[in-house]
């Protein structure tokens, strides 16, 4: 057997940088690297020159200066004597609380609407379609502003709630006189405890042990419920009969937390009109209400579409096969359709949570003091440190996003279909 040609000699020619698959990619990457470095150097050089021209430097020390501005809605203690850093934390909490409430409410509403959209009921399905199309195709900003304007311009002023002897007041409270919606905000009852657990001061952050206790009890209840379900499954696998457990679940989930709250002496402080305004209870600013309602309504329409698409993505054959095996419709849903539909629904759902979280920054339209309002708004304007504030703000948003993405990736990895 003779060789057709001699083995090639490994001499290097310049043309190989372009035509040889071994070197080609390095050539391109080196060029890209040089271009990127040149671009970065150019930007950095410009920044240094501009900073020098404006007599500025890059320094994050301003974060520990006194703010001097007030934030109405603060979940951690805050006064205008606190530092900019604390204002940042307050803003971050405000961002997260709107995002959390928005995610929960829009998921509930979105799932209901998405399922109803697929209903065989003609009228309901049409109504839901109209809802989805109207909310999806109009900017979110419009809903935020509209809800805010409607609340703050159509609601009566607090003085209209004043009850004068022998006269009917101009405005009434809602829900059995517990909630008052005025043009300045919404007054809702505040939960109070007669015998609360002590509060621990952890450095600068006070932590209410009562709240911790409630959360711990709820978590324990949920865990106990999981144990119960697991035991039921074992029983089912051993005997073939699945015991009825729903009432046990209800007991386990609700009795401990109710008992704890009762023991701590939960009662409500209702808002009462006194003098010129409402006293007692909690005053929720319309900026928060408007942002939450608008985010909920808008994202409910988006989530509804996801839910509908997810359910429709499951092949009809799946439910037919399940039915042919004699599985009842309810079980078909929980054993066959939902596990598959969730696989389709959850990844886009999480990315919608991500968008919702980012869209909380639209609170700027109603002056909601979230992260952008504090750090990227008042702090930035007061200190004039655009570069530092913007960098820090983007970084925080980026971290939040990356955390949510990481959750999504972990989920995707765990439910990936086993395929060859």
């Amino acid at each position: 057997m003779t060789l057709a040609t001699e083995p090639p000699k490994a001499n290097f020619r310049l043309g190989m940088l372009i035509y040889d698959t071994r070197y080609r990619s390095y050539t391109i990457q080196v060029i890209v690297l040089i271009l990127v470095l040149m671009g970065v150097a150019w930007l950095a050089n410009n920044t240094i020159e501009n900073l020098a021209a404006k007599d500025k430097d890059i320094n994050f020390g301003f974060l520990w200066n006194r703010t001097g501005y007030d934030i109405d809605q603060h979940l951690i203690p805050y006064t205008n004597d606190d530092s900019h850093f604390r204002a940042l934390l307050v803003g971050l909490c405000n961002t997260l609380v709107v995002a959390l409430v928005g995610c929960i409410l829009s998921t509930v509403l979105g799932v209901i609407i998405g399922v109803l959209r697929l209903s065989k009921n003609w009228l309901v399905a049409r109504l839901m379609t109209v809802y989805i199309e109207i909310f999806r195709n109009v900017p979110l900003l419009l809903w935020i502003i509209l809800v805010y304007v409607v609340f703050s311009e159509t609601r009566p002023a607090p003085k209209d709630f004043k009850i004068v002897e022998g006269k009917v007041s101009a405005a009434h409270m809602n829900f059995f006189d517990t909630i008052a919606v005025t043009n300045r905000g919404t007054n809702v009852p505040a939960p109070l405890l007669t015998n609360p657990l002590p509060t621990v001061h952890l450095g600068f952050l006070p932590i209410s042990l009562s709240l911790i206790a409630v959360i711990a009890v709820i978590a324990a209840s949920i865990y106990a419920n999981i144990l119960l379900r697991r035991r039921t499954k074992i029983t089912q696998e051993a005997t073939g009969i699945r015991p009825t457990i729903w009432w046990k679940s209800v007991l386990i989930l609700f009795v401990p937390v109710v008992a704890l709250l009762f023991a701590m002496g939960l009662h409500w402080e209702y808002p009462v009109f006194k003098g010129f305004n409402f006293n007692g209870g909690i005053n929720i600013a319309h900026s928060f209400t408007a942002l939450t309602i608008a985010l909920t309504l808008y994202y409910a329409s988006v989530i509804a579409e996801t839910v509908r698409a997810g359910i429709q993505a499951i092949n009809r054959g799946q439910s037919e096969a399940s039915a042919a095996l004699g599985i009842r419709p309810g079980r078909t849903m929980s054993l066959v359709i939902l596990p598959q539909a969730l696989r389709v629904i959850i990844p886009p759902l999480i990315s919608q949570y991500l968008s919702l979280t980012k869209d909380t920054s639209l609170g700027i339209a109603v002056s909601y003091l979230d992260l952008r309002g504090t750090l990227g708004g008042i702090t930035l304007n007061q200190t004039g440190r655009e570069l530092e504030c913007m960098t820090l703000m983007m970084l925080i948003y980026l971290i939040i996003s990356l955390i949510i993405s990481a959750v999504m990736n972990a989920y995707n990895a765990s439910v990936k279909l086993k395929e060859r």
């Binding site: 057997m1 060789l3 040609t5 035509y19 040889d20 698959t21 071994r22 080609r24």
Partner: protein
């Protein structure tokens, strides 16, 4: 066992070497898929490669047009050595046609567009000429009337014949077949095999990974049996089937012919 219906007049094996593989080795990570392959294919040869699944037979022919990269040894196709040089790879690929198990037709193009795409863009043939060639080969695979349909509208057998025609439009000197009938329903296998037989009758150099032993007996001049990434046995078909030498070959043949 030669089929009298097959015209063997043009099936001549010349002395010229078409493919030369010397001491070729390939790994997937640490897994040694091809071990010390030595093989010479002359022009006009019809070679059937068989073997149990995972034996490396598909990988071997995919190395021949460098869909897979080999790590050691030498592959010379039509005088061009396959190295990492893009020009050589392009040259080899334009002279070697390949037919895949899953057809891999382009679903967004009509049959005719599928056939003319590569001649127009790689061979730089004028469109009209490319279309004439395409119609000629569609006639040959006996589906000229489907020219303006899309691949999704054809049956599996028809799609595979289109895939063969698509390769032929590049006027290749060598054709590689990677299990061309494995994804087909039984009644469609014959139409594809007929097309391949007529190709052999015209003297095409063919390397075919297949389990169609009837085809091997009728057309091939050599059968190669691979197992565990190695060439275990090769022989002319009659001897290979009637008088296998290695134990592995015997076991394999008893399994696929036993049913």
């Amino acid at each position: 066992m030669a089929d009298p219906a097959i015209d063997r007049s043009k099936m001549k094996v010349s002395d010229e070497i078409a493919i030369q593989i010397t001491n070729m080795n390939k790994w997937y990570g640490t897994f040694h898929v091809l071990r010390d392959i030595n093989m010479t294919v002359n022009k006009g040869e019809r070679i059937v490669i068989c073997g149990p699944s995972g034996s490396g037979k598909s990988t071997l022919i995919r190395c021949i047009n460098r869909l897979e990269e080999h790590q050691q040894g030498q592959i010379i196709v039509d005088g061009t050595e396959l190295t990492s040089d893009l020009k050589n790879i392009d040259k080899v690929r334009s002279e070697v046609g390949m037919v895949f198990q899953h057809f891999n037709l382009f679903p967004h193009l009509t049959i005719l567009e599928n056939l003319t795409l590569a001649p127009i863009w790689v061979r730089k043939v004028p469109k009209k000429e490319a279309e004439e060639t395409a119609m000629y080969f569609l006639q040959k695979v006996k589906i000229p009337e489907q020219a303006h349909k899309y691949p999704g509208q054809l049956s599996g057998g028809q799609q595979q014949r289109v895939a063969i025609a698509r390769s032929l439009c590049m006027k290749p000197r060598i054709m590689l077949f990677d299990e061309p009938t494995s994804a087909l329903d039984p009644e469609m296998i014959k139409e594809v095999l007929d097309t391949m037989i007529s190709l052999a009758e015209e003297g095409m150099t063919m390397l075919c990974v297949t389990h169609e032993m009837g085809f091997a007996q009728a057309v091939a001049n050599r059968v190669i049996f691979m197992d565990q990434g190695q060439i275990v046995e090769q022989n002319e078909p009659r001897e290979f089937f009637n008088n296998p030498q290695s134990e592995r070959t015997k076991l394999f043949l008893s399994q696929i012919l036993g049913h």
